[in-house]
């Protein structure tokens, strides 16, 4: 039976993504490592500060895993939440797992925690890159209703691999943020079709920000993650320069496009208007960009 990734809680995603009964939580809810800031602001905390971390096995291989709970504060990264992610990446250096898997669902920095949240995001980024520099692959899975935005969007793009569903969204500024700073003519955040074709999984897949596109199904995310285990992309000057070349190439090729539909047409998609109705499995044929060179 199909188990929707988007509709599952962070805990249910972890339980069904990993091998059955293999998950061992670190700093579980009973330890009550909660936010030191929220109570002062009169906001209830969550016993796990909105992120589940721990170890387990995936297809028999040892992995470390984190899952953000989008329902709690929009998955916002606060001080404790960020510290749990940092600790997980540091643990990876010692345990050398086949991957660190992050089920990202977050609007970015938890605004209640201001600077502590901002610092947490940069610390997570540093710890993630440290793990990658030691050859440990980092895999982001994005398929929650809240998407992956702000600082968490930046963190996601620091990973070796990004797996998304059509429902998943990935970007820096969220739709409402763009509209309020640049006006509704620039971006209408209530136009859901526009929002999804600009930030959604299919667009990210077509332009190369997402490596694997899957259906909204925990089992599909599981298969995709298994396929990426042990595959580390070298973190060196050559890969950085290739990434920069790709980005400037994107600007040259598509800089004047007003809509993702224009980008898709120019990228060689024969009928861009039909993309919204395609299954994840039908999208591969539309992708012209070569897959990343693997280590």
């Amino acid at each position: 039976m199909n188990r929707s990734f988007a509709e599952s809680t962070a805990r249910a995603r972890v339980a069904h993504l990993l091998d059955a009964d293999s998950f061992q939580e670190i700093l579980g809810p009973a330890e009550r490592v909660v936010s030191p800031h929220l109570a002062l602001l009169g906001v209830p905390s969550s016993f796990d500060d909105g992120v589940v971390i721990g170890s387990g096995t995936l297809a028999g291989q040892a992995v470390l895993i984190a899952a953000q709970e989008g329902e709690f504060m929009g998955g916002g990264v606060g001080e404790v939440h960020g510290a749990k992610l940092v600790g997980l990446f540091k643990r990876a250096l010692r345990l050398q797992p086949a991957a660190v898997i992050v089920l990202a669902e977050s609007g970015g920095v938890r605004l209640h925690e201001a600077n502590a949240g901002l610092i947490a995001v940069s610390e997570v980024m540093r710890a993630l890159l440290d793990a990658r520099a030691h050859g440990i692959p980092v895999i982001m899975l994005i398929g929650g209703d809240n998407g992956c935005f702000g600082g968490m969007g930046l963190i996601a793009r620091c990973a070796d691999h990004v797996v998304m569903s059509d429902i998943g969204r990935l970007a820096m500024s969220g739709p409402e943020v763009i509209e309020s700073s640049n006006g509704v003519e620039e971006f209408d955040s209530r136009d859901r079709a526009l929002v999804w074709r600009t930030t959604g999984g299919k667009h990210r897949f077509l332009i190369g920000d997402c490596d694997v596109l899957v259906e909204d199904d925990v089992a599909a995310f599981r298969s995709a993650a298994i396929g990426l285990l042990g595959q580390s992309i070298p973190l060196n000057l050559a890969t950085m320069e290739a990434e920069h070349a790709l980005l400037s190439d994107r600007l040259t090729q598509y800089g004047d496009c007003r809509d993702a539909l224009d980008i898709w047409r120019r990228a060689g998609v024969p009928d861009p208007a039909l993309v919204a109705d395609l299954e994840a499995s039908e999208m591969q044929a539309l992708k012209t960009r070569k897959p990343k060179e693997l280590a």
């Binding site: 009973a30 906001v43 209830p44």
Partner: protein
């Protein structure tokens, strides 16, 4: 935000068990954690809720829950973000159901 504390004297002692967590602290939702509190005839309930002034309703919902399950030797901790009484009752029953099925922390 308001913190509320209740205790009930029950007969059903589950003994030792792994902590149980159900629900999520999201809008109109709550998380309920059950933990063993050995050698106590009490069912202790600690609530942190975003909504102020609903103590009598919490007392009524918990009294109903206690009449259904009569738990003892247990500590119930709740973080609430404005769940309705019906949702609170369902979450409490969900936690009690997991206690009797012995599944531990699920979702």
């Amino acid at each position: 935000m308001e913190q509320l504390h209740f205790h009930f004297v029950g007969q059903q002692t589950p003994g030792d068990f792994m902590p149980i967590l159900v629900g999520v602290v999201g809008s109109g939702n709550l998380e309920v954690m059950l933990e063993p509190s050995a050698d106590s005839p009490e069912c202790r309930v600690d609530i942190t809720t975003s909504a102020r002034g609903f103590a009598p309703i919490w007392a009524a919902v918990l009294q109903d829950f206690h009449e259904r399950h009569g738990l003892a030797g247990i500590s119930i901790s709740i973080n609430d973000m404005g769940a309705t009484p019906a949702v609170v009752s369902l979450r409490l029953d969900q936690a009690a159901a997991e206690l009797s099925s012995g599944t531990g922390i699920t979702s």
